[in-house]
Point group: C2
Chain length 319, copies 2
């Protein structure tokens, strides 16, 4: 395979905002408590394999130094990670049912997240690659309002809660972003289209130049001005905890674009490939454990396997 060597340029930093929290998670096979979670944690760790990362979020008076160290160990700049001493960190308790196909929120405590305003440190306002992880669309918009570089590339995620309760600010946000990454049910909820091909095409008319629709174990679609790209998922046989897989996907995808300094279709396809592989690591353990420990070599190994298992030979054809 021909490789484009990029060592001559320094990749841009990826600015990540979203939630940072502690999760209590129960699956059909195991449970764990008070584990590092939140959209910004997964996105930042995933992106850090490819590009420098600056993280903007808030933690409370109970945030462990070990977790801060864990982010730092991946070179993540936490200058924008505010510490609010007035209360504990955001907490989510969830349970997976029916072979992981249904997730139930058992408890949700916003804690210090309730008053969070994602102020950007001055040095990060001219970021070129920005990921708006899942938080209220008004907060995502507030981040956008602080950006100064006209060439910035903005990717965003959202969830059913905001589609149902904050639809208007979300629709306004869509007009201002470049890449929207949502899962299949969110795409249907946003557009009213059950057919995912039509849903993805409709989402592109709502603002974003590119749209990714994630289908979990069934892979993902990329809707792009030049057409549709479809990629199967990496074949996971040891599913442990799906939490954060979508966030890790987003982080790895945009981290790849930042590393390439390129947002063309070819780069976005490669981003989808890395996003898919990094998501596959994430679901193989609770919390960010396998995402954080997997390592770039394992990622490259899986990227090669996924390339091989989706490659059609060009030399065989019907006459």
């Amino acid at each position: 395979m021909q490789r484009v060597q990029l060592s001559s340029r320094q990749p841009d930093s990826v600015l990540v905002t979203g939630s940072v929290g502690y999760d209590d998670i129960e699956t059909p096979h195991a449970r764990d408590e008070r584990i590092l979670g939140g959209s910004a944690s997964y996105i930042s760790l995933a992106a850090s394999y490819f590009s420098p990362v600056c993280m903007v979020g808030v933690v409370g008076n109970d945030f462990a130094q070990a977790d801060r160290d864990r982010l730092a160990a991946h070179g993540i700049d936490t200058e924008g990670l505010q510490e609010d001493g007035s209360g504990p960190t955001f907490r989510w308790s969830g349970k997976y049912h029916e072979n992981y196909n249904r997730r139930e929120t058992l408890d949700l405590r916003l804690n210090v997240f309730e008053k969070f305003q994602p102020h950007l440190p001055g040095a990060q306002r001219d970021s070129r690659f920005v990921i708006l992880g899942n938080i209220h669309p008004e907060l995502q918009t507030y981040v956008l309002d602080q950006l100064t570089d006209e060439e910035v590339f903005v990717a965003a995620d959202t969830i059913d809660l905001w589609i149902e309760t904050a639809r208007e600010p979300l629709l306004r946000l869509l007009q201002r972003i470049h890449l929207l990454v949502v899962n299949d049910s969110e795409a249907t909820l946003l557009t009213g289209e059950d057919n995912l091909i039509r849903a993805g095409e409709t989402l592109r008319t709502m603002g974003p130049r590119e749209v990714v629709v994630k289908k979990g174990e069934h892979g993902a679609y990329l809707f792009h001005p030049e057409g549709l790209f479809a990629l199967p998922a990496y074949p996971v046989t040891e599913l442990r905890d799906p939490t954060g897989a979508g966030d890790a996907f987003l982080g790895a995808m945009v981290g790849t674009l930042s590393a390439l300094g390129d947002t063309t279709l070819a780069a976005q396809k490669l981003g989808l490939l890395y996003g898919t592989v990094v998501a596959s690591l994430t679901v193989e353990a609770f919390s960010c454990d396998r995402l954080a420990s997997g390592g770039r070599d394992l990622i490259e190994e899986r990227v090669e396997k996924l390339r091989t298992m989706t490659r059609l030979e060009s030399g065989v054809a019907l006459g």
Copy 2:
């Protein structure tokens, strides 16, 4: 694209057995009655785009000359299509619910199919490519028992009914076939594995050298001694009637292998591509209408589109 020209050889005939029937179908959007259906009809029409086809089945005293003509118009040899004057043709009535995700059988009348024995005309006993469409595993086995060519390649399909009510003969049949093509729920029911990767690998230990697991709109997996291949579905936006899509997939896949005279991994991947595309035509109309009228040019156009939408550029990579 480099093309292997095969015009110098005559493709082998594909021997197809299965049901031939009339269907009454109701979908969320429309209904139609007494339309040509049955596994052998869909398989034969799909395979006929690629290879000569000999069809073995039974019809009753109500089978329309127009339907026989329709098969003949595709060059399908119906010498093995028995006519049983003692009663009407097999009849199935079904209804699709919930945006096509659930199918209910409203009525099933075996009619002349009840006493059907798939006797092969003498000239077809040395067939090299054989498709055992969905019928009772004992009848599929009876076809196998009449085959004389040691190099024969046998592909088979089955459904939940036989997995639940004729498991033992089905398991014995699996030991004697080369390619099993089932959908996701059948793969799980046969193996007890919810994880489709494990289910496909397990099916290969049960006999067939290759296994295809179809996932409808989510594409298909090919499990092969040399590894796993995954292909997304062709993007269908106008779903009308899913009946027969799996049969058409199987017919087009094996028709492709017969046309190539090749069952290597490269050939099977190409078969999966053609199977996927021909299935996409099938679901766009009731009965075999679009499958029969689509034409080879449209098939090739969709094959090119599916190749393009699944192709990763090799010139872009992280340094």
